[in-house]
């Protein structure tokens, strides 16, 4: 049943086409397809393929970003339907994300947010130039599982340590996991400041988040 529809949904993600993804979502509702099934058998299959191709070096960041955009467009239409029917997509975890104080670079951080959201995490993006304390305060407020801190500049990377200290002060460690991202960041740096890990790119961040939460 609906195999053609699911295939088209998958392709809309692979083609990175939010308009087609949204149209197919509306079609599926009209056809009475359970929204959770549309997401898992249709759109997620596309996302998985894009992830695999990216890892293989065949797909590139624009493919990944537009796949994420298409996924968002589909979920935006299907989610209200799910709520109506009482079905729920499994939330893998709650993540608070942001670029550290003094730094306004958002590409990497936003890409991580897109991949996490698309894969079923609840993501709260604090944006850029986020004060150290805000990470901790928001994590406490939301009962977050993970805090992700991005820094692109060599000069602002040290702020990740301040976030680590703020989480400590709020008594959130080690329950809340701390993950880092950004061009100058390394595994050594993550170890040095007592973070739980560092992701080289958005896919690495996704697999790191899954591993840390055992999902």
């Amino acid at each position: 049943m609906h195999d053609d529809l699911f295939r088209a949904m998958r392709d809309s993600i692979v083609d990175g086409d939010p308009e087609v993804a949204a149209r197919l979502s509306r079609d599926s509702i009209a056809l009475g397809v359970p929204p959770l099934e549309a997401i898992n058998r249709g759109f997620v299959a596309g996302l998985t393929h894009v992830g695999e191709q990216f890892a293989a070096g065949e797909f590139f960041l624009p493919d990944l970003v537009l796949a994420g955009e298409a996924m968002k467009a589909a979920v935006a239409i299907l989610e209200p339907e799910m709520k109506k029917s009482g079905a729920q997509r499994e939330v893998l975890g709650t993540v608070v994300l942001g670029t550290v104080q003094g730094d306004i670079h958002e590409i990497g951080k936003t890409l991580v947010g897109t991949m996490l959201t698309a894969s079923g995490f609840a993501v709260h993006d604090l944006g850029v130039n986020v004060p150290f304390e805000t990470f901790a305060a928001k994590a406490r407020e939301l009962g977050a599982d993970i805090v992700g801190v991005s820094a692109l500049l060599t000069t602002t990377m040290t702020g990740q340590k301040d976030v680590a200290e703020a989480l400590e002060r709020h008594g959130l460690r080690p329950r809340v996991k701390l993950i880092l991202g950004g061009a100058p960041v390394t595994h050594d740096w993550a170890r040095e400041i007592g973070a739980d890990g560092y992701g080289e790119d958005a896919l690495a961040a996704l697999s790191l988040a899954r591993t840390l939460l055992g999902k």
């Binding site: 590139f60 100058p184 050594d188 790119d201």
Partner: protein, 482 residues
């Protein structure tokens, strides 16, 4: 004749300028510093929700008051770097957090001692006409990191310095550090020793910190170097031409703010434009398109008659391998041919993250080669060959000619021992050293021959007082120990 490379034809150049002016009006430029907003507003730019729409007439006025040429001076007060015309200078890259440790071959966090070694090497190599505040010192109080590294460079160098502040409030104290070394703020203005990099944030955004830096530098008469950093495909249009438009709009907006603060203050059309690697999301400083962008952006600045700057000579490689040599050499050559006045970036590895004194020594060879190209081919006398043939005849003993002895040093760049041109036998006899081993030996030689400039005690104590005061004000726990 200095050979010259231009990548933009007249028609494309005009189109780039037209679109840059359009962007300044629509969507305009985000400007966050109160002083800058006030200056723009008073001069007739429309400000709405933090966005300034800058009319072309205002830009033209700023362009006409910005100087065509100025000099940076060495510690002795002599002009040493010419910003203007087609003069080409090089300085090491800035703000790395890692250093390639020459013993362990690991990238590790940078410390003050690493900066000192980099400065010593750059001081000894004539290819670097200026120093840079090359790394962030992780052992220094974080709150005054920018002041600290500038003071380290000033303590160890007599050359001009390319630097930059980490915040709006530390720039004035950095200017005080420089003023203390040259006899006060008036003397610093008359013979500036340093230039400050100031970065707009792509796309089309002059942050509070950066715009305030522009205003403060202009008022102090200390040169400002605008570092516009469009990343084509990520924070800028994916096309090279589109990224050049954005670079132009960001520079023009910066020059307007700067010249409104103080007409005639020295300012440079510069940047670190780059492509964006669609696999890794890094900024490939060694990509050929990055070099093309730098050349094209500089061409626009030259069209306005302004001094220019670019960011080339860094590599994306992690060690001194063939990739590092290839990327550095081609970028440095393109930048030199484009006539960029100051080319920053030598010594860098891993995009912008890691510095290496050994690479600085290697890059000096690539730079020397590029400088040789700039000297071009000249006759060196009335006769090109016939007069020498009259002496050498069919025997062809040119090695015996006095002309050969007189001219070979100007005709040929003579590389250091880092570049191996010996026989296989002599290479084997010398221990079959690879490039890194030769670079390490070269660095050790340079460091051994280096002598720190003598500084009056009074200047050192003034610096110390400034550092302590700033650290105390910033609430640093390390203030007392400085």
């Amino acid at each position: 004749m200095q050979p010259k490379l231009e990548l933009l034809d007249g028609e494309l150049l005009e189109k780039i300028l037209g679109e840059a002016y359009t962007l300044l009006a629509e969507p305009g430029i985000r400007v966050q510093a109160a002083d800058a907003v006030e200056l723009l507003s008073a001069a007739g730019a429309r400000i709405e929700n933090g966005v300034a729409r800058i009319p072309e007439a205002l830009v033209r006025r700023a362009l006409s008051s910005a100087p065509r040429e100025f000099f940076l001076h060495n510690r002795a007060g002599e002009p040493a770097v010419r910003y203007g015309g087609d003069a080409v200078h090089f300085d090491p890259g800035s703000s790395c957090v890692h250093i390639l440790d020459p013993q362990t071959m690991q990238h590790r966090m940078t410390r003050t001692a690493d900066l000192e070694r980099l400065v010593q090497v750059a001081e000894m190599l004539p290819q670097y006409t200026a120093q840079s505040t090359a790394v962030v010192c992780n052992d220094a109080p974080q709150e005054i990191g920018d002041l600290w590294r500038l003071h380290v460079v000033l303590r160890h160098s007599g050359k001009p310095v390319v630097t930059g502040a980490f915040s709006a409030h530390t720039a004035p104290a950095m200017i005080d550090l420089l003023a203390a070394d040259c006899g006060g703020r008036a003397a610093l203005k008359a013979r500036p020793r340093a230039i400050f990099d100031v970065c707009p944030s792509p796309p089309l955004n002059w942050s509070d910190f950066a715009a305030q830096n522009l205003v403060d530098l202009a008022r102090a008469g200390v040169p400002a170097e605008i570092i516009s950093v469009p990343m084509a495909g990520a924070t800028a249009p994916v096309t090279l031409a589109g990224a050049v438009v954005q670079h132009a709009a960001e520079c023009l907006a910066g020059i307007v703010i700067h010249q409104l603060a103080q007409p005639g203050a020295p300012v440079v059309w510069g940047g670190a434009p780059a492509i964006f690697d669609m696999r890794t999301g890094i900024t490939p400083m060694g990509a050929i398109e990055t070099a093309m962008l730098n050349a094209a952006c500089s061409q626009i600045g030259k069209h306005f008659g302004l001094p220019t700057h670019g960011y080339l000579g860094g590599s994306d490689a992690k060690i001194l391998d063939a990739q590092a040599g290839m990327e550095t050499s081609s970028a440095v050559l393109l930048g030199a041919l484009a006539g960029i006045n100051m080319i920053s970036g030598a010594g860098m590895l891993d995009s912008l993250a890691c510095h290496s004194a050994e690479k600085l020594a290697l890059d000096a060879e690539a730079i020397a080669a590029a400088q040789r190209v700039l000297q071009g081919i000249s006759p060196r006398g009335d006769s090109l060959a016939t007069a020498m043939f009259a002496q050498a005849g069919f025997a062809g003993e040119f090695l015996k000619l006095p002309e050969t002895r007189r001219l070979f040093r100007t005709e040929q760049h003579l590389p250091s021992h880092l570049i191996d041109r010996g026989t296989l036998h002599s290479w084997e006899q010398g221990g079959s050293q690879d490039l890194f081993a030769r670079a390490r030996a070269r660095v050790n030689e340079l460091v051994a021959a280096y002598k720190r400039p003598e500084l009056p005690k009074q200047i050192e104590s003034e610096w110390k007082a400034i550092l302590q005061e700033q650290a105390r004000r910033a609430g640093s726990q390390q203030a007392a120990g400085l």
